[in-house]
Symmetry: C2
Subunit: 148 residues, 2 copies
Amino acid sequence: MTTREATDVAAVRRVIEDLAAAIYQKDADAAVALYDEDIVAFDLAPPLAIDAPVLHDPAHIQSWFDTWKGPIESTPHRIEVRVGGDIAYAFGLRHMTGTKNDGTKTDLWFRATACLVRRDGRWKIAHMHNSVPFAMDGSRLALLDLTP
Amino acid sequence: MTTREATDVAAVRRVIEDLAAAIYQKDADAAVALYDEDIVAFDLAPPLAIDAPVLHDPAHIQSWFDTWKGPIESTPHRIEVRVGGDIAYAFGLRHMTGTKNDGTKTDLWFRATACLVRRDGRWKIAHMHNSVPFAMDGSRLALLDLTP
């Protein structure tokens, strides 16, 4: 890896960490500031795809933040990053823990893929895909208790 | 977009179409030939992550092909592609239809993200992420009947 590539990879890793920090602090504006103008997300919750106008409204993520008591941990785990020109991708697992308003404890490992684009020298998230697999035994249950 | 970029984007789209064709024809070797040596997949079925040695064994995907009667359609729908240097990413929906061995009809829309890398001039899939969202109503059900 060249020095230039190593610098780019470090900058992309920082975006992933900044997103985790924004979620931890439940700072909607800080999260939205990381999104590219054309961002499309495939998230844990429906619908199939969430488009840019919804994602760029801080109220969208804030309404989810507000369902949690205290901070939301979503720690990145073994994230692979590759950069080429002005695009990049990063994928790995995230471990989300915290307490919902009704007192339920959440402890969920999920898969996270992020696709990024460099705009005016700054890396922005152009696509996010977060998910868990589902059981193929006919139960149709999402598998919320898997661990790496 | 430059001519070079347009050529690269077309080549990446061809890989996505070639994967759909390999699945349609249930051709395990043709599917595996599209994978990079270090591929990691986050798939509809568990586990959380599937590593290269499993994915490169044609028997892995063949055992899934063998649960279907006749061809498996997995038509790409509104795929966005971006290329930078020797990496690329593509994301969109796929519509999977077909008949399982027990006669059950499958008709499933899922989200698909692919991350690619160019090796010796050929685009290879370095990461695939396929999923559906799950219900946030406490039922923990994977949402298998969503449509775009």
